[in-house]
Symmetry: D2
């Protein structure tokens, strides 16, 4: 019933052994449900160590949940949420933000998944005019859906811009750890310290079984957070099993080690691809994703043994992702498979 | 960091060892995310063994999620959902059904949490008149929020009644296993065979870590299920870890053994309470819940050592629940504690 | 193509001639759309004369719109709105409040459509607990759906109670004028002066063609009003034609004259019914509605000539309403028709 | 209290005398509320004369209401609605479609407000994949927000394309009459006959006081229409006053005469602008709107006497609209004012 390690997504991976061990250890006796347990209390302290004492943290089940809970809490239904055209909230959440928050998503085209104030500026209009959605939030993804990474200064510039216009900064950090690892900075240097208001902090894609955290950097914004978590169906009863995972992830740099490893494997894969003709890497490989344009013909034969997503059918652009558990051997084998498929198709 | 076993709720319990073992076993290699994995396929077959081949099953994170996904799929926003006044969907989901499905909940007073057609009849009105919510669903809870249990025939009568009027039957089965154990019938005899249309099947309260299932007994009703699961933020990426738990729960009668034990412990507790003066059991003890009116004074002293909920403050009515892991010794100790608290308060 | 005047509802009536004249007079030249016109400015001043200078007023199309705009503005989706079981928002708005505001409506049984703090008290629970809807608003109807009228002091008591618990008072005043006429008090004495926070002020049922007003008595609460009016589809482009109607209605006591007349006609009808055997008036006739239990057999024959609603089928309770244009002759003829129908059915 | 006729919008105009007369004539006696009156019945027949017998028509208050009612009825919340980037539903309805239908709006850039299948094609993706919004509706505006007009064949091509992919065609026809007048075709030739599924038919901008119609060309699609009209707060009680207006508008070609006149005035204005240096008309003048790039300096001085909207601030592009009541003299005076303002600013 076991599958080979794929390059489809970091959520194809299983659970890191230390995190699984934390789950097993948490399974003792009874604990008050819904987060009133000592595991949760302790995990929250861990988050405070990383992100500062003045945060409010709510654990949730998954990434869409984290985004929707955070966005519902900081918006009214007449707001618009400005985001990259390829943002997960825009493309991969089946209208959950629209349905649950009522807001309009304003998709902004980008080259690399990163927004700039120049790109956002034209969409900042209609303030105070009741006919128009009121710009309320700029949502950025770190690392982006293209595997690229915002520098701290880039986030600071966006946050200052947002706040100057009365907007808030939401960050979808499903892969925040990969960004911090890539930049070699602490987590707070790309969140707390540069003006992010609300963060979805990812656990599942970095070695957890399930569980994400919604972090508010201003407690006043979080007053209604608890209600929206519950209402968005994201309140876990046996919360200790999310908390224990985060406790493990945020201890002994496990979050960092996992992310560094995934990033490194992506580098190795990118290096291996460099030498192959007709394979073009389309985005800077800054974290654990590779976007590559490949000969259309090799896709089906590769997919016989490796499950992965075709990002852009007409351009034959594929997405390959590495995970905390990808091995050097996995990468080597995959590169060989690509070479073989290309050779079979093109004969040279 | 460990807590004593409480009588607060069956979700204060941890995870059954066999289920935890299943989780550990599932943690091997990569699996396609979002349910396209062999674990999920296999668990779905288990459900079919219990509920019949023609069902559609979707795994979700939690009970509120299961209810909202099921109800969203079978309603339009102009429908009303008729339910008991104490229904979880009415009282304990922070308006998630209203906000996500748009529907009106129509709370109907009951004695014991069980609805009858006589009670429902007066609310069946306004059909075809655009001013009024259109009755769309009767939602019942098995076992009820009062720990009582619908007989198969009672469900059949409600289902026939519902279908005759063009309504559907939704069952919140967060504790369905306890009901089946109590009645000593297979699961299908209180669902598939008696006209239920959509079921939330509970896992978390019966020994799982997290995970519930939404079951549709008519596949035609389930055509949009997948979209509503995603949109309601209830689609898990590492789905295999829910599937593996259900596989274990539905194998070797674990679901039944767990539920039987919890029910038995409630019986033991009820028996022990019988002899204590001034303690009145308020509802038939048919599953794993006990509702008791107690001398107001004993509540705080008992709560010093045992966490539990006061159901009705003015009447000093408390709810005590047993779980799959409650021991005879737990029950004995709790009865002693109650006696002691009563004695301390009343002196005789 | 003309129909006889009925006793079905005050919205079966047409438009008062003075209001129609105001519409005709407003039809000159161009005016800026959406309320930036002098007609609207002037009508707002009229409202300030009646309700005080510190109000915020928004004109809307209809009663459901007024209620939903007001309630959306003062709630978040985790709130509950406590109201009488027969409240228009609960029974006659096809889930618009649930769908648009997301809130739960909590229907409270009453004898006469009027809520008391004793009736509300048991529903004030769950504060601060995320599982439960948070009590946010008490919504009362003046005059009630049963044609009864709150005394100023009764409203004050409810408002104090609401504010003490952190709730707001919403008043559905579709027939507020009838209440003021009944009590012989100025409009502000049952709104501004007694603690109402948000009011739906009715125009249509008191002689207007279309148009209601949402009035906020605390401008801070109204900051988002303009957006919710637009989003709830209630922003009229040619606003001057609502404004001109209100200008006429609120000038020269037309609102009062119309309401007094409708109330008087209901009194006349009630007096005429008194002498008829087997006709029982079920609610105090305090405004322009009469609820009467009648011999079941007379309903169909009466309805051949008079359109009206059967309020409670099993009890053969009907609702008859008078309007600003009901004449003494209409009432006499209707009483005769009732007598005749009763005689035909019972033969004595 | 009167304003000069402006070129701000066709909803700055008042009511056509014949329509006002129809309102006055309808004000006799009582009529059953909510559309069960003979005026409504008769107006529906008029619509059938123009659009065919098999339509379902619902009258509503305003354009946003018409769009939202129509779209709510034909979508589920997981659908996306593809529309032009400048579509009224996307830009001018303050998220009403997102909030009320739950759907995602997918804005597609266009040159002239008209969509082509080439432009739409790239957005037709994700079918059957639960992560992605499911393409459900293509919404087009006739005449477009840029005053341009779809040819019948262009609509047919879009409709065939939509239906081939399982989507429906919604048309925002707030200015449908201007399009029909421009093309010199009957209304059905750009709706019924070319595959439109649901239409918002505009009255207010073509001489009515208030009132639009939602028309379904397939009655099966309209089964839930009545509930969504009520729930979206768009059900008028004194419906006869909308019906009577439509009766007048659709009789004796009044709809056509009004639209033809407005279009003609736009032509006159365009002709007058042609000779003026530094004024560039930016869009084909096909109906009653003119988009012109003008010297930035003349805008404020012109706006001292004429209220109008600046469409694109950076480009100094303004929108001027004519109405059914714009006179040749109005146009001449406006052209003179423009010339004068330009001369004052530029001195030659």
């Amino acid at each position: 019933m076991n599958l080979p390690r794929s390059f489809a997504s970091d959520n194809s991976a299983g659970v890191h052994p230390k995190i699984l061990q934390a789950i097993v250890s948490a399974n003792q006796g009874h604990a008050i449900a819904y987060g009133e347990d000592p595991f949760t209390e302790s995990a929250v302290r861990k988050f405070q160590e990383h992100f500062g004492d003045n945060i409010e943290v709510a654990f949730v089940f998954n990434g869409t949940g984290a985004n929707v809970v955070g966005l519902s809490t900081i918006t009214r239904s007449f707001h618009s949420i400005l985001c990259s055209e390829v943002a997960h909230i825009n493309v991969d959440e089946c209208n959950a933000p629209e349905r649950l928050a009522g807001c309009k998503l304003v998709p902004i085209p980008t080259e690399d998944g990163k927004l700039t104030i120049e790109q956002i500026q034209p969409y900042l209009r209609g303030f105070g005019v009741e006919h128009h959605a009121q710009p309320g939030v700029i949502s950025i993804t770190q690392t982006t859906e293209f595997g690229t990474v915002y520098r701290p200064q880039e986030i600071q510039v966006l946050a200052d811009f947002a706040h100057r216009h009365g907007l808030l900064i939401h960050m979808d950090g499903a892969r925040l750890s990969n960004a911090a690892a890539s930049l070699d900075v602490p987590l707070r240097q790309i969140t707390t310290d540069v003006g992010v208001d609300v963060l979805s902090f990812g656990g599942t894609k970095n070695g957890m079984m399930f569980g994400e955290a919604v972090i508010f950097f201003d407690r006043q914004l979080a007053e209604t957070l608890r209600y929206f978590r519950k209402q968005c169906t994201q309140l876990a009863s046996k919360m200790r099993f999310i908390a224990a995972q985060f406790e493990a992830l945020l201890s002994n740099d496990l979050w960092l080690t996992n992310a560094q490893h995934a990033n490194l494997m992506a580098q190795r894969l990118a290096e291996g691809l460099t030498g192959i003709p007709e394979i073009a890497i389309m985005q800077p490989v800054e974290a654990n994703a590779i976007f590559a344009a490949v000969p259309k013909e090799i896709i089906p034969s590769l997919q016989e043994h490796y499950y992965f997503y075709v990002w852009d059918e007409p351009r034959a652009e594929v997405r390959w992702m590495t995970a905390f558990d990808t091995t050097e051997e996995d990468v080597r084998a995959f590169i060989e498979a690509i070479k073989k498929a290309r050779h079979a198709a093109h004969g040279y």
